[in-house]
C-alpha cells in the first residue's frame, strides 16, 4: 500500500515540478562542504575546451577555468584538501547528471540557451563561438550556398544540427545531413569523404583540424550562421553557488589570467599532437572578458 502511495506521489511529481524535492537537494555549497568533495563534469573530446590529452588527463581551456572556480570554492569554504571527482559527460547526459547531483558544475563546450535555462543555471559566459564549416581546401566550397545537393555532417545534439536542418528546409537545398555521435566521428565522416563539409562551432572545428592526419589540407570557411555563448552549467535555483562561480570567473577575467589561459589553448601548441590552433581572440570573447555576463545569444 505504501509503495503504491509513493508511486502515486512520483506520478504527480512527474506532471508538475516539485519544489519540495528541489529544496532538499539544493545547496551545492553545503553538499560540497559535507562531502568534502566537488564533482566536476568534463568532456572527452571537445578540443581545446575539455578533453583527454595523451596521458589521459583532462585538460583544456574550460577545464582550466573550472579549476580556478574550484580554487575559489576551496578558499570560500576553507577546505584545504577538497577532493575533486571528475566525471566525463556527453551532450546527451550532461543536463540530467547536473540535475541529479552526479556533477556539481560542468565547464566544457555547453551553449547557454533559453531551453536549457529551464533545466539548469549557467555561469557567466566563458567563450563565444560562431557556427561555420570545415572543408577540404581542394573542394572549392566557400560558403553555405555551395553545399546544395551535397552531404553535410554535423554532431548530433548541437545547435549546428538544428541550424543546418532548418537551412535545408527553408532554402530547399537538397542537402543530405548526417548526424554523427561526437565531434571525432563527425570529422571521421568528413575525412573519409562521406561528407563534403562539417558544420560546427568554429573553435571546435579548429580543434578537429589539429587532430587530422594532414591539418594543412583543411580550412574553415563560411559566414557564421549563429553566435553562441558557452557557459559552465550548474543546478538551477542555487544563487549562492552561482555567485561564487561568477565571482571567481570575473576575477580571472579582470586580472588578465583568462587572457593568458586563452593564449595557452588557442595561440600556442597544445596536446596531444603539439599543434597550434592559431585561433585569435574574437571581439566577442574580448568583450565578455571586459564585461562578464551570463546572457544567452538565443
Amino acid at each position: 500500500m505504501k509503495s503504491r502511495r509513493l508511486f502515486a506521489a512520483a506520478l504527480v511529481c512527474s506532471f508538475v515540478s516539485c519544489p519540495i524535492l528541489a529544496q532538499e537537494l539544493g545547496g551545492t555549497l553545503k553538499k560540497i562542504k559535507d562531502s568534502n568533495t566537488i564533482a566536476l563534469g568534463h568532456r572527452e573530446s571537445s578540443i581545446p575546451f575539455s578533453y583527454y590529452d595523451d596521458k589521459q588527463q583532462v585538460v583544456g581551456y574550460s577545464q582550466e577555468l573550472m579549476l580556478k572556480v574550484v580554487d575559489a570554492v576551496k578558499a570560500d569554504l576553507k577546505l584545504l584538501n577538497l577532493q575533486i571527482k571528475l566525471t566525463p559527460v556527453t551532450s546527451q547526459n550532461r543536463i540530467p547528471l547536473v540535475q541529479n547531483g552526479t556533477v556539481d558544475i560542468e565547464c566544457g563546450s555547453t551553449t547557454n540557451n533559453a531551453e536549457r535555462q529551464k533545466q539548469v543555471a549557467f555561469s557567466d559566459t566563458i567563450f563565444v563561438i560562431g557556427t561555420r564549416l570545415l572543408v577540404k581546401k581542394s573542394s572549392g566550397i566557400g560558403d553555405f550556398a555551395d553545399l546544395a545537393g551535397k552531404n553535410v555532417v554535423t554532431t548530433a545534439g548541437t545547435t549546428s544540427e538544428r541550424l543546418i536542418r532548418k537551412l535545408n528546409e527553408d532554402r530547399k537545398m537538397g542537402m543530405n545531413i548526417i548526424s554523427a555521435k561526437d565531434h571525432g566521428e563527425a570529422f571521421l565522416t568528413l575525412e573519409t569523404g562521406r561528407a563534403a563539409a562539417f558544420m560546427m562551432d568554429d573553435a571546435l572545428l579548429a580543434g578537429e583540424m589539429a587532430k587530422a592526419r594532414h591539418p594543412a589540407d583543411w580550412v574553415i570557411v563560411g559566414t557564421p550562421q549563429s553566435r553562441e555563448a558557452y557557459g559552465c552549467m550548474m543546478r538551477k535555483d542555487d544563487p549562492a553557488f552561482k555567485k561564487l562561480v561568477d565571482g571567481a570567473l570575473a576575477r580571472v577575467m579582470a586580472s588578465g589570467e583568462a587572457e593568458r589561459i586563452y593564449k595557452k589553448w588557442f595561440m600556442s601548441p597544445i596536446p596531444p599532437k603539439g599543434l597550434n590552433l592559431n585561433f585569435p581572440m574574437s571581439e566577442d570573447v574580448a568583450q565578455i572578458f571586459k564585461h562578464p555576463n551570463d546572457r544567452a545569444f538565443e
Binding site: 528541489a22 551532450s91 543536463i95 540535475q99 548541437t158 532548418k166 535545408n168 548526424s179 555521435k181
Partner: protein, 246 residues
Amino acid sequence: MSYHWNWSVFLAQVPSGGTTYLGWMLSGLATTLALSLSAWLIALAVGSLMGVLRTVPGRWLSGIAALYVELFRNIPLLVQLFIWYFVLPEILPTGIGNAYKAINPMLQQFTAAMICLGLFTGARVCEQVRSGIDSLPRGQKYAGLALGFSLPQTYRHVLLPMAFRIIVPPLTSEFLNIFKNSAVASTIGLLELAAEGRQLVDYTAQPYESFIAVTLTFMMLNALVMVLMHRVEGRTRVPGYIGGGS
C-alpha cells in the same frame, strides 16, 4: 531533484517545421521496425543455411559454418557495426568504396546496420538451428536415408520440419533481441527510435519524458512480438514433444 516535467512536449512543433516531436518518434519507430524486420529475414536465411551446414558430414562445409559463428558471435556488435560502416568502404576497391559513399547517407546507414544486425543475429540463429537438429534422435536421419531419400531430401522432409518446430522458443528470444539490438544503429547516425529519442533530448532538454517514451515503445514492441510468437509456438507445437503438453 528540480526537474521541470512537460509531457506536452511531444505535441510541440519541431524547429525545422512540418511535424511534431511525436512525428519524429513515429518515424523513428518506422525505421526501427523496417531495420529489425529486414535484418531478421537475413538472420533467418543465413542462420538456417549455416545451421544446416554445421550438422552435415564433411569437414569443409561445417568448418565454414563454424568459422562464421565464431567470427560473428565473438566480436562485439558495436565493433561489427563500425567495421561495416566505417572500415569496409575504405578497404574495398576505391571505385566501389567511393560509389557506396556517394549514395544517400540514410541508405548507407540503413544497409550497413541491416547487414550487420542480420549477420550477427544469423550466427546466433545458426546455433539454435544446429542444436535443434542435434536434439533429434539420430534414428530419424537414418530412417530418412533408409527410405531412399538423399541427404538434402532427408533434411528438407524429415529433419528441418521437426527442428524448426522445436526451436521456436529460443528463436523468440533472438527475435526480441534484434529489436533491442537495432538501437546500436543510432551510433552511426541512423535516425531510428533511440536516436529520435536522443534528438528530442537535444532539442527540448526534456530527457526523462523522451527516455520514458522510448522505453515504453520498446517494451510494447517486444510485448507484441511475444504475443505473436506465442501463437506461432502454439500452432507449430509437436504433440507429445518437450513442453508440447498432450
